[in-house]
Every structure is written in C-alpha cells, then in structure tokens.
Symmetry: C2
Subunit: 475 residues, 2 copies
C-alpha cells in the first residue's frame, strides 16, 4: 500500500505537512527553523523561477548578486526598517577565527546594501531607470515555522529598482504587481486579489506596499508576493542621488518586490486534495507519467514499443516512465496521484492491441479513465494539459467565490472569517483593524485595487469609509 495523507477535513495542518513530506517536496532540517528542499520540491521551485524570471527579463530587468552579509550599521540607518526587521536578525560575530569589529547581519532583505551600491553606480538620469533583480537566500529568525510557508532561511527573488521620478517608480511598483498576478493566475493557476496593504501590514521602511493574496483550501489567506513603493525613504538616508536633466542633484525614487518559496506552499494548498498534491501542468516537474503494464516478456516488448511511440510523439512534454520493478500498477497509480502528476497514461497489452492508451486526470481522480487512440496523442495530451490548467484555475476561483462573504454587521464579519474572506468597509484606522484581529484573529489582507465603488460605513466603528478591505485568517 502506498502511504495515505491525512484527509483535509480531519486536520488541514496535518494534511499539509503530510503532503509536503510524503510527496518528498521538503523535509525538516536539523537546524532550528530551517528546511531542506528535496529534488521534487526544488524542481517545482525551478518552474516558479523560470516563469518569473522570463517575465522579469521581458520587462527589462537584469539579474545580479549582492552580498549575504550586511553590516549592522547599514540596517540601522532607516528607523522603521531596523525596527521591523531587528527582532529577526541572525548575526555573525566571528570570522576567520576572530571577533569582528562590526557584527554582520545575514541579509533579511537587501534594500540597505542596494542603496550603498546604487549610490556608487548612479551618477545621472542617464543611468536611470536601474532595474535589477536578485535570486537569493534570506534569513529571518522564526520561532514557529512551517515548511515553505515560514522558515528561518528561505529562497526568494528581490527586485530593486531606481527611478528619476515618483511617477515612474509608482508605475514600476504596479507593473511588478501585475507581473506577479499574471504569473500566479496563468502559470500557478492560483487566483489572487491585488491590493494595497494597510499601514500596519506594509513593508518596514516603505511608503506603500501592494500584495497578491490567495485563498488556501481551508479558506485562509496567503500573501504570495509583494511590491513596494519605497519613495525616497532609503535614498535620503543613504544619500543615493543623481543629477537630473536640469543638472540638479536629486534623491532617487525606489521600488522593491519579492516572491519566495512560499509560492510553492500556495500551489500545494490551493490545488491539493485528500489524495495529496495536485499540480497545475505548467508548474509540474512531471506532467505525464506513463505506467506500462505487462505479464509476459512478449507483452513487455509490445507495451514498451507503444511507450516509445508515446514518448517520441511528445517532445515538449515533461514525461516520466515508471518502469520500476516489484511494484503493482495500483501502487504506482496511488503514488503518482499523491505526487500530483496531472496526467497518468496506462499502457497494457490490450491497449496496444486496440491501438490506444488509458488516460487518467489527476484533478478528476475516481472518474472513469479515458481511452485515447495512440495515433492522436501528440495533439490530445497537450490539449488535455491545457484543459487541466484552466480547470484548476476555474475550480480555485469557484472555491474562492463560495468562501467569500460580504458581511454588513460586525457579528457577520466574525462568522465570515471563520470560513473564508470577508470584504468589508473599513475606515482605515489602526484601532478598528486591531479590534478585528483581537476578536477574530483575522487581519486586513489588503485593500483591493478593484473596489465595489461608492462609500459605506466602517464595519467596526460605523464611521464613513471610502474603501473596502479584505479580512481573513492568514498564514
């Protein structure tokens, strides 16, 4: 028998950990708060990277690499920044056998280092915009951790751009938010809400933060990516200036934006079911698994001949042939279902005789397998993968719709966030936000860019409210 994951209804948290570990996506490291990303999970992350990196380059960004260590004094320059991040610092105090004169912080994020370098590289408006991204590891000390979602060390990309005007920097902030939405919805099949973070939830040191927020399978929210308009907050303290086209010295305008290995957690929790992982085809390390079935050597030869035909017909598809000995077909079916492979192709002697294969969709596990003629697979399988990609997205949208509520009373809000997202008028005050958090554990996820229009009364205090916010429990 293949291993079984805990059903989601029984214990969602246990279900998640089971899926991550049984599908061999990641494992706990023997260092507090750290994880090991195993090959199957890393291949998923590589597909996330490829989808984002392609979009970054298409929008004119270049990759670079900045140091892991940041002198403590850099991080202390921007007051809000250090306040926000200091509790999570990991600090190197000794190097090469000696105590360091100045402690080095393992980067929690790189705005400060970026500003020191940009101040050196940027001379005039001709050097702008400067559009740089970095793929890197970062460290933020965590006490309560969860694989992929919250770990002391994690992998991410951090974009850091410099502009001559506020307008350009604000445009860049929104451009990258849209890049994230496009990736999340079209590649990861994860529907997201784009919006502005509240003052209390924004990036420490920024002016405005924006996020994409997705709904997980238990109705909780996960922030899948953030894009920050930093204004001149960092350039003022780091003296990052440029000569504008009127020959005057001016501080640069900046943005930063990031997506991390959390995105993998999001893919798991948005699509997974009680059989385990369900992967959208564009992200799946293995898109099609072929399980050959035979008894005699004669059958074996015929079946493997057909397998080769299928493989040859699908050069652009990521295929795995599961010809492991000593395992029953049933075991293999369960195993690959648990690992979320979008399509399973079974080929036995009778299929070969009939010139067909049997195809099972992971997202419709339990449904009748579909016989498909061998001859047309080169068109049918890629089309089926596209269909699955769309269906997973649609299913996630439907789920979110079912779990989205529009409470009009404070009591209704409390009930709504037990089950999903609550859109509600909010006056914008910290006090009302804190009250909701205190009473329900739900936080304001963001203030969606797409508002219903009009105005209303704050769901907490009843004062005039110009915007609705989305409230939800969140990872």
């Amino acid at each position: 028998m293949a291993q079984k994951v805990t059903p989601r209804s029984e214990d969602y948290s246990k279900w998640y950990t089971d899926v991550v570990q049984m599908a061999e996506l990641a494992d706990y490291a023997p260092v507090k708060g750290c994880m090991v990303i195993r090959p199957y999970g890393y291949a998923l992350w590589e597909n996330v990277q490829a989808g984002l990196d392609r979009r970054f380059k298409a929008t004119g960004h270049q990759n670079a690499y900045f140091p892991l260590f940041i002198p403590m004094s850099f991080l202390q320059k921007e007051k809000d920044h250090v306040e926000g991040f200091a509790p999570q610092f990991a600090v190197v105090t000794h190097g090469g056998g000696e105590q360091l004169e100045e402690p080095l912080v393992v980067r929690p994020t790189s705005e400060t280092m970026i500003n020191v370098m940009y101040a050196k590289w940027i001379r005039s408006y001709r050097d702008l915009p400067l559009l740089i991204n970095q793929w890197a590891n970062v460290v933020r000390w965590e006490m309560r951790t969860r694989l992929f979602l919250r770990t002391t060390e994690f992998l991410w990309q951090e974009g850091h751009t410099a502009h001559a005007t506020e307008r350009e920097a604000r445009e860049e902030t929104m451009r990258m938010l849209e890049v994230y939405r496009d990736f999340a919805e079209n590649d990861a099949a994860v529907p997201v809400i784009c919006g502005r973070k509240s003052e209390s939830e924004k990036f420490a040191g920024g002016v405005d933060s924006y996020s994409i927020e997705a709904m997980m399978g238990n109705g909780w929210a996960l922030q899948d990516g953030t894009s920050h308009f930093l204004g001149q907050n960092f350039s003022r303290v780091f003296e990052t200036k440029f000569l504008n086209d009127r020959n005057e010295l001016e501080y640069i305008w900046q943005t930063s934006w990031g997506v991390s290995t959390r995105m993998v957690g999001s893919i798991i929790m948005v699509h997974g079911d009680d059989q385990g992982l369900v992967l959208p085809p564009r992200m799946a390390p293995i898109q099609v698994v072929i399980v050959p079935i035979w008894k005699s050597d004669e059958e074996r030869a015929a079946v493997l001949g057909a397998v080769q035909q299928v493989q040859a017909a699908l050069p652009g598809i990521r295929i795995r042939l599961d010809d492991r000995d000593g395992l029953t077909p049933g075991f293999k079916f369960n195993d690959w279902e648990m690992r979320g492979v979008p399509l399973r192709v079974e080929i036995g002697p009778r299929d070969v005789a009939a010139g067909q294969v049997l195809v099972a969709r992971r997202d419709r596990v339990g449904e009748k397998k579909q016989p498909l003629p061998l001859a047309g697979l080169a068109e049918r399988l890629p089309a089926l993968l596209d269909e699955i990609q769309r269906d997973l997205f649609d299913r996630a949208v439907r789920f979110r719709t079912e779990r989205t509520f529009y409470p009009t009373t404070y009591a209704e809000l409390g009930e709504a966030v037990e089950r999903g997202f609550a859109w509600a008028w909010w006056c914008g005050s910290r006090a009302c936000e804190d009250k909701i958090k205190g009473d329900t554990k739900a936080t304001s996820r963001n203030i969606p860019l797409q508002q219903p229009g009009g105005t209303g009364r704050c769901i907490v205090c009843g004062e005039q409210a110009a915007e609705q916010a989305v409230f939800a429990r969140a990872y």
Copy 2:
C-alpha cells in the same frame, strides 16, 4: 574617449581588476572580502550555470537545496574536514535577539549537512545511487581577496552523491570531472588538464581529489573545478548506512564536486587582451552588437530598416542594438570591444545601399572589417560565432603549449614556473613538493590523468618516480 584598461604586459593584476570593473562584471562590496556581481557578470555566470546544469541533468542529477547554517558540532565530526575549514568559518552566535546555545557556521561546503539528511532518507540499496546537486552561496573567510577568484562569499554548485559500491562512486567522481572538462573546453573555450590532486592539495576529508586546471594569460594556473571521491570518510562518522542486497548494513560511498564563480575569472584571464574582455560566443551575454550609423532622419529610417532585417534573421542569437544617443560610433566600438562582445555589426547608409553590413570580430581586433551581404546573414553570423568559439579554444591551446615546459633539472623547473606550466617527474613525497613551493612559490597543480608513460627520476630528490605532476604558480 572610452576608458582604457591597463595593458597586460604592464601589470597583469591591474589589467584583471580593470577589466572586471570597467566591463561592469563585478564590484567591491562594502563588506570585507565580499563582491557584488553586476548584471553583465551575472549574465555570464547564468550562462555558466545553464551549461553545467544541462550536463548535470543529462547525467541523471537533480537539484535540491540544503540549509545555509550548519551546527558547529556537525563540522567537528570529521577530523580532517574541520581542520581544513575551521580557520575560514563565519559564525552566527546570535539569532532572534538571543545568544544561540550552539553556534551556527555559515556553510563553507555541505558534506556534513548532506550526510545528516542522507542518513534520514537512505534506507536500502534501492535508494541508491542518490545524485543531488545544489546551486548555492558559500562562505570561507578570506584575508586577501580578488574579484571572482577569491572572495569570502562566492556562488557555486556542489554535487553530492551516494553510492552502494566504491566502484560506482569512483566512476561518478571521474564522470563529473569529465563533465567539467567538457563544459570548460566546449562552452568556455578553456583548455584544461584533468588530474589527481596531491595529498597536500586534496579536499579536507576526502580520499582522492581530481581537478581541471587551466592556464591564465600570465602563465599561472587556475583550478576551475574539483571532483572528490570521499570514500566512506563521512558516512562512517555520520552513520550514513544502507541495507545492501544481501540485507547487511553498509556505509554509503560518496562523492562531491564543485565549480564556482571562479570560472568567470578563468574565462576573463584565458581570453582577455589589452583591449579588455574577449568572450567565447557560447558564454557571451551579448553575442552580436549592432551599431547603426546615420546623420539625417532619412538615413536613420533606412538604417533602422536594415537593423530590423538583421534582428529578424537571427532569432536564436543574443543581439544588442546600441542606439544610444550622443555617443560616437568610435566610442561605441571601443566600449563593446572592452566588454568582449564576439561580433560587431555596423550598418550605415552606404551599407544599406550596397545591401551589406560590416562585421568586426572581437578576437581579431584591428583587422579589416568584413563586408557581408545582408541576404546571407542568417547563415553567416552563426557560422562566424562557431568559428570564433573554435578559434578562441585553439588560441588558448597554442598559448598553453608555448608556455608548457618539460624541465629535466631542478634549475630548469625554477625557470619554467616563472613563465608557465612545468611537467616533471615527482616521487610523490610531501618534502619534495614543499621544497618546490618554498623555492619557487609554484605548487603541484595536479598529476595529469594522461601521463607520458614510463618512469623517471624525481626532479627534486632524484628518487624513482612513477608519475609526472604539473607545477605552476596558481591563483
């Protein structure tokens, strides 16, 4: 006037730093011993990564990610390992505002962490071989640093494999050495000598180390990659065992192998000349730069029309159009020569009228530009890039041949290592190796796999010697 690099003959070391900085490959970081890899240098590294990663996957390896922090106690388990690496440790003593019970070392290499995890994952011979690679940053505290060649933090890949038998692990060690040779020679156009490291130069904690060694433009050696047979040294101290097919518990056999951002330094020093960088086409972030030339708006339209034709004809080529305003064509020519772009295409009004472009090869700077008909560029330019790739390799082989010596006396050895590589019989004793180092600063680079055959007398002590070693000054 574009910036000029210091000529190699005047000061090789200054030439190197000039090229790295003026071509904007890298910059000094404001943290002792660290560097910033700038976009152009990082794009070069991305091409190195792609060339290696493709080969790793083709030989059955998968990527994964292991933690940055390694508990001090792990590193202390293997005696030689800790002795070799301890002087270079960077140590995290504080996390989350508190002093840690056990200090964490920022990974200098991951054999110890790998063994802790492999001990958890490997049960039986069915789990073997386990073939994993990691792309990561590592930290080894350095006092004297040089951009790309020796920095406290650097980027690399580290392969870590586990096998059921010594034979398989030894085969893997040699397979990856060959992968490195193939990449270096065919993609980086860097000829290398494959060989075994001496006892004093081998990996701390391993059984046998192998390297690829290249000759830089000043005749010095650079170790471009290493592949280690670790035997059971780590599995014995970490109790990394498996059930063999006779149902007995056995220690796994291991290898590890790595190539780092040093490879970028090697590409710079093997191919560069007094005009700056010279990049082999397969590694070049920009393979062809187009410099359009016009005076009137009418000329501009005609020239840009031809430019579009060229771009459209070369979809698989990495092309940059340099249409920057306010810079003379001459400035641009020098600028792109300094940055090592393999081919420059000039298009002016007279070229358009003649239905041609002018092509200049970076590796033959100063030679007459070649007029090529617009019509045939789709075949000619890729062919020219292939030709440049081959010519750069051949030129590097010729240079190495000229600077390779076969001294028969100790005095000749001393003269040889002043200029390049010295192949010499060596008895294998540490004393003789140390004497050479003390007298000449040259070290044994490796004991080449391809030996001249026969035996000889050690060039130092005159005792019987079974093998020749290559001695050279090294970075």
